[in-house]
């Protein structure tokens, strides 16, 4: 039996591996640890996990000369650094060193795989938020027309925060609001937890904030993955105050943007948005004020005309009533002053007729005309039986003649 020294054995392994393996392989792995050394070499621990159970592990190295090439390209394509927990597709060759053992010599990293992987994770998170029914919760809140108490989550030193404050405080209309900064880390792995803590502080604050503004920007475009983080986005979506984002994405929207009440590109545009709402509100108030003024004037004018008309009508009507009453009185007055005389005259006329009639029957008037009255035995002679020898008495106007009947025919 041949005996190998350890070195001999390791050299054998190295020779077999070198002989049997391809020059390089494309391998999918998760970055378990990453460490950029001062000498420019990047050391990684690559793992494959099933949940938290490590199924495979290997060391990997990106030599400084390679790292200088692939790192800027990777960052420009993915917008993110290589970091722990990231799944990557690497092109590597196996290096076996008789002293240091096995290591993967990384020659290239496929940026598209990481982009696709991140997009897949993002879709998973969106689906989870939708399945939990919280995706649109913040959007269903009503944002005040004029936001006067604002909680700002940002990094105090961020250029974006400064842009926001300048834009808001120097607005040409002189609008003011209470602007409170809740400082948080806005990038990297700690960002998500830091922002969630700020949300808790805002929620517990004595101030009744009307909106929360989440801003960053003005700095690196990298490490925006935290805005796709499930925990952060679930908090933002369910936050009871409308959230406005101005995270400064150039590439695409983060999930934080999707769950926010309102998403805007930059901190400056968030300030412009809030100022513009205030301006719109003021314009509406001014318009309404003008409308009220016009309507009131019109109403007063109409009512004045109506009252004038009624005033004219009652005056006219009362005048007519008075005139009619006066006319009726005049008529009655005329009747009273003339009618009694008429009645008396009629009575007088009637008396006069009767007097004349009576006069006409006075026998004295007949005697005057030459008629006479004959009486027998004191009675007027009409159709009494008379015989010769009867004594008659005849009365004329001036005399009374006595005679004796001789003959009767």
């Amino acid at each position: 039996m041949n005996h190998y020294s350890l070195r001999e054995f390791n050299l054998l392994v190295k020779a077999v591996l070198s002989e049997q393996l391809e020059r390089s392989y494309w391998i999918i792995a998760e970055i378990g640890q990453i460490n950029l050394h001062g000498n420019g070499h990047c050391y990684l621990e690559l793992v494959e996990k099933d949940n938290n159970y490590v199924k495979a592990k290997a060391r990997g190295t990106i030599w400084a000369n390679v790292y200088r090439d692939i790192h800027p390209w990777f960052v420009s394509q993915t917008g993110t650094e290589l970091k722990q927990g990231m799944k990557v597709l690497i092109n590597a060759s196996l290096e076996f060193h008789e002293v240091y053992g096995m290591s993967l010599n990384i020659r290239d990293i496929d940026a598209n795989f990481t982009i696709g992987e991140r997009e897949r994770k993002k879709q998973e998170t969106i689906q989870r938020l939708e399945a939990e029914g919280i995706m649109d919760m913040n959007q269903e809140l009503e944002l005040s027309a004029v936001v006067q108490r604002l909680a700002i989550i940002s990094s105090e030193s961020a250029a974006g925060y400064e842009d926001f404050m300048n834009q808001f405080e120097n607005n040409p209309y002189g609008y003011q609001a209470k602007l409170d900064l809740y400082s948080a880390t806005m990038q990297g792995d700690a960002a998500s937890q830091s922002i969630i803590e700020s949300l808790h502080k805002i929620h517990e604050s004595e101030w009744d904030y009307e909106a929360v503004v989440l801003i960053r920007g003005g700095g690196s475009k990298m490490d925006l993955d935290c805005f796709d983080d499930y925990e952060l986005c679930a908090h933002l979506a369910q936050f009871p105050i409308p959230v406005i984002t101005g995270i400064g994405h150039e590439r695409d929207q983060s999930i934080a943007d999707l769950v926010a009440h309102t998403r805007l590109k930059t901190p400056t545009s968030v300030a412009e948005f809030l100022i513009s709402r205030m301006l719109t509100f003021e314009s509406e108030i001014n318009d309404l004020q003008e409308v009220i003024g016009q309507q009131t004037k019109a109403l007063i004018h109409r009512q004045t005309e109506l009252i004038n008309e009624l005033n004219f009508r009652w005056q006219l009507n009362t005048k007519q009533v008075l005139q009619r009453s006066t006319f009726q009185l005049d008529q009655m007055s005329h009747l009273i002053s003339h009618k009694p005389t008429g009645i008396l005259n009629q009575h007088l006329l009637s008396l006069s007729h009767r007097e004349k009639l009576i006069d006409a029957y006075n026998p004295k008037n007949l005697l005057t005309k030459g008629y006479s009255i004959t009486r027998i035995n004191g009675k007027i002679l009409k159709n009494q039986k008379i015989k010769s020898g009867d004594e008659l008495e005849t009365q004329t106007l001036t005399k009374t003649i006595s005679s004796t009947v001789n003959k009767i025919k």
């Binding site: 006066t326 009726q328 009747l335 009273i336 009618k339 009694p340 009645i343 008396l344």
Partner: protein, 63 residues
């Protein structure tokens, strides 16, 4: 006139009745003097009321 304050309407109605009596010519001649006397009183009263109202209206409307 009676001491009790007359209303225009009562005075007017009474006056109207006297006029109707006179118009019908069935009036008792002995009453004519009294009727005419009463009627003249009523006419004067009614005229005064109307003039008073007219004056009040002018004052109220400020014209």
């Amino acid at each position: 006139m009676t001491k009790k304050k007359l209303s225009y309407q009562t005075a007017y109605d009474e006056l109207k009745t006297i006029c109707e009596q006179l118009e019908s010519e069935e009036v008792d001649v002995d009453q004519i003097t009294d009727l005419v006397k009463r009627a003249n009183e009523l006419v004067k009263y009614c005229q005064d009321r109307l003039r008073g109202i007219e004056k009040d209206l002018t004052a109220v409307s400020g014209n």
